[in-house]
Symmetry: C2
Subunit: 344 residues, 2 copies
Amino acid sequence: MSVSATDPTIAIVGASGLVGQEALSILASRGFPATRLTLYGSERSAGQRVEYCGITIEIRQLNRITEQPPEYALLCADADTAKCCRSILSGTSTILIDNSSAYRLDESIPLVIPEVNGSLLECRPRFVANPNCSTIMLLTAISPIHEVFGVRSISVTTYQAVSGAGASGLEELHAQTRARIDDQSQEPRIFPVSCAFDVFEHESAIDPATGFNGEECKMIAESRKIWDEPGLRVLPTCVRVPVERAHAQAIMLELSRETSVEDLQEALRGAPGVRLHAGDRPLTPAQIAGTDDVVVGRIRVDPDDARRAILWVCCDQIRKGAALNALQILDRLEDARSGSLALH
Amino acid sequence: MSVSATDPTIAIVGASGLVGQEALSILASRGFPATRLTLYGSERSAGQRVEYCGITIEIRQLNRITEQPPEYALLCADADTAKCCRSILSGTSTILIDNSSAYRLDESIPLVIPEVNGSLLECRPRFVANPNCSTIMLLTAISPIHEVFGVRSISVTTYQAVSGAGASGLEELHAQTRARIDDQSQEPRIFPVSCAFDVFEHESAIDPATGFNGEECKMIAESRKIWDEPGLRVLPTCVRVPVERAHAQAIMLELSRETSVEDLQEALRGAPGVRLHAGDRPLTPAQIAGTDDVVVGRIRVDPDDARRAILWVCCDQIRKGAALNALQILDRLEDARSGSLALH
């Protein structure tokens, strides 16, 4: 892709974090021009220099974003930063795409997985929320099945990589594992227990009313909003595993009508964003880290009830689960602009 | 426990393996006398010396077991060894307790978790099968709930430690993790893929008809046999995780009637072999490794359907999942003998 006047200007807010870095890496692989890109960060990251396609870009302090409001601001930071950006950019025409949980359940804001409900982007909303990584992988994988067989209920159990908690989660896994191998111990800082050679319930706060943790609550509420089915039955159990990057999910579906492994494969084959795992080697999360697709392996149907299916799904939670999904939202918003320009 | 003429004679077959070693460790902690114990192993292990309560015991070659048939033979070896033992001890009065899968589904042989169906031991059968570790932990945890609320269907997803594949599985985890930390790689030998920082479906062979792996097939068939419910609906997904020892399970139950977290706690409190997890620290498998109980944490009820419950369960698969369960079978058989002696 060469430099083009039609490339939009993009600001990445939170450019030094795992998701911001991944967004940069995807833009670089597309050859997106550095001249259309600005990077912003917290006071702590401001002044850091980032290599982008052989050019050095300095991360600016966030309050400077209003000096040259970009066409798109990709928010790869926390909820407070998202709220701040929304406020300081309110008088501009910048479209914000937010990876945080700040506005995901706000009724006035679309929550979008382009492959699932991308049509919400046709009206070019000013603010779009990116769903939680676990929700993105779940719904990208099962929406094609829902269309054909009607999903009545979802039970999902996760195997979530420590990098879902950011770069510091990954550092903690490495440091604690190294310590354990050397017969030392290292106190947990990011997670409630040591993540070396152990698995534990997701570290998000538990809702005292239901006992569901924050990650599980997100999966329930966001799935209902994205499918626009307020009564959708979703029963998640979210667990961290000592994996560096990419999540896995065991998904059990109750369908409205009987299915077969072949029918499910047929529904998923060619579905956008989905890849059917092939080959004899078992599908694992580490194996697909750094790739774009939501990968579906081990499709089974309950031998005693052909309306129950089980899938094993893996997805890079930083890529399709965050940065890539946000950039796909941006792509669809650009398509919508071209479309509306063409109409005039 | 002092040396007593009433202690039975016990032979441990497969004394150098993880399960055999664990059985020895439990017997030692009970003060079981070395004079009543003989150890057997393969040609490879024969001649090895094992420390037991300060005394050195030599592992004998298995064919010597007929020289002095023990009252109980604890088979902690593979299916072929179990078949061989059954054959060579057929003319003796030895009672065999088998940890392998050789006879678990044999209709003439009881498959026993003492807390669940221990009454099958009252007639002192000559051969008793010990269930698979994943079945033991599942049914020990949910049988008390079944009694009160009637379990109509079970979906279970596992997080299984690599030591379930024996000592070599554990060595592979350590070697591969060490290699990965040093930016090296080490080819898998025990598992189909590297187990360092990754999770993967259980390595047992897949049934081409259903797509279920061997571990999942065992959980289905053994649960049906132990509960004596041939139509019981069990949907397992068995996954290995890079944990050294102790398994975890996320168990979703559909019950015959509505329940609550308090009612489920009440059903489990004081149930034999079960401990309710207490405290703020999340329950993890590594945390309970080396302990006896099946530990139940995170009890949740579906807010939209009070007949659906989810449990998070951890259990040392070498202890209660194998060696301890086998010794509890032996204890119950001894109780049955005392009972019948008392009757005469």
